[in-house]
Symmetry: C2
Subunit: 358 residues, 2 copies
Amino acid sequence: MHILNLDANASLPPTKAAKDALIASLDLEGNPSSPHRLGRAQRRLMDQARAAVAHAMGGHEKEVFFTSGASEGNRWLVDAVLATGNLKVWSTTLEHPSLAKPLERCQKVSQPEQADIIFATAAHNETGLITDWDELIQRTKPDAILVSDISQAMGRLDPLPQRIDALVCSAHKIGGFPGVGAVLLRHRAKTLKAPWTGGGQEGNLRPGTEALNLIIAFGAAAADIGAMREANQALAPLRDHLEQALLKAWPSAKRTPEHGNRLPNTTAITLSGVDGEALRIQIDTVGVCVGFGSACSALAPEPSPSLLSLGLTPQEARATIRFSLCPGTTREIVEEVIGRLCTLIFVAIHVTIHLWIQ
Amino acid sequence: MHILNLDANASLPPTKAAKDALIASLDLEGNPSSPHRLGRAQRRLMDQARAAVAHAMGGHEKEVFFTSGASEGNRWLVDAVLATGNLKVWSTTLEHPSLAKPLERCQKVSQPEQADIIFATAAHNETGLITDWDELIQRTKPDAILVSDISQAMGRLDPLPQRIDALVCSAHKIGGFPGVGAVLLRHRAKTLKAPWTGGGQEGNLRPGTEALNLIIAFGAAAADIGAMREANQALAPLRDHLEQALLKAWPSAKRTPEHGNRLPNTTAITLSGVDGEALRIQIDTVGVCVGFGSACSALAPEPSPSLLSLGLTPQEARATIRFSLCPGTTREIVEEVIGRLCTLIFVAIHVTIHLWIQ
């Protein structure tokens, strides 16, 4: 059975440019922190990648440092808030666990108007919901530090307004490889105290030898960000077709949330009265890969806090399927997914009846 | 001019097995935290790598979690000490900055006998000095938690005694790629409180999508650890030859430290009365890549605290050259290095005289 991957938001398959760049990097020797020739050659390549990543994020290369991914970037920013001290924090209810959980250690306020620093994901990984940053900016203090995790938005939407002070991203969400990401700091975000000490890498902001090969591939993926965005925008009609077909086939199904601007590749479909775990296993059995909660927490049994915050019951949150199309997803793949999932529902009902009779 | 790389301790060139494994991994899709087929396939590959890395570290796969490298592993352990609370810490003066600097936040004691947790690098990156763990264990409390950064030792020495509770390592020091490492926790180290929150990856110990491709390559390098250790042990006579030739050619040169067990591939040579920065530039000019201080801090102007702790003056610490041979280093390469560096010294004297006359 051919596996059908509609789980782009968990991780995008790496692009050809990223693979080629990684292969071309395999014979590099040295350490980019070494001042000798081998080190300088690595640093030049790293700075080329930094420029490409910065441009794709909507900023300048001097504003960017590399991390091991968005989770680390989010933790860095929370640690910076704590190291700086006396900052009142507001965040949306749709933040990724890698941000939401560390933020529990901060002093939170209930309204953005009250906050010294605002965290708002550019787009929610589970539903594709897009934050209206223009509206949010109107509600924040003029000197508030604004932070956005752009992991899901970077390859699908235009860059955020320049007013946003700090951005967090991850290579494997834009066609690079997992294990590398970046943080962009500008304007007021530069007043945050750097929280980590160690070696002097990345302008003394992030200790640890940089993941050179992954950074080079990240740069190659970032250099193609325009094509990536076009390919993702072109997925909207396919996503809509999938969504309509499933909502029609499944009587208890609804889109989550029912309104709001979304990423072009993402839909979250909630099935009332269905056991989420059984649903997950059955969808897996027919070879369709989709998301249930964010991948980082999908092995945990708790319902997604973000989905609960959108008004779902715990049962509904567990039975919410995230379909996220990849740039390579074709109409044939979508039709095949629709076909396999209609079969699935009959099996589900059959099994339920079978158990009932027992 | 052919570049001669005697800077293995900064980063080892990746092995063929690591490169091949990385190339074979490029078409993998998914996220190892996803419970579906693509995710499970990734998890299996990751756990194979985990078993190989654990074995190379001298432990079991259930004790190992992956990090972005040794710097992160060291920071994780310091944060765990702080999260656990009430732990008196002792460390050697030879710890890497990625450990020594975070440790400044901990409650330090001056004798290992007084400590609840001991940090001692298995081998010092700048001089190759090997910690005598058997002797140190005699001096510690029976219930003290013992921690060792084995980054430089893992590919060159046999595993440490099982008594050591926690180990930290980095892939690019054993022939893998930079951007991945591991922490091993066993015995009393499991009583430490996990300091970081976020996604549930790596048994809830380390949030963030794992660097799958680098982990697979790390596993391939770790699977060859026996051959790596043999190749490194075989470098000792070449290292000794290089050392003797330079000590003979340079009247003011001495080995640092003059006594003590060292890694087979490493020698640190100190030149009294020579400007370290001029020396660094001139060695670079003749195409020889060596270390000055740990690579992570080599762009910083301060003399190495570790070298000062060994009794060197700031001038001597700055003028200490670390030669670290790679498994591929041949006698021809060593002779060529000796030849180029003898020329260099004449240039150095010439320049000094020239500036004096001006």
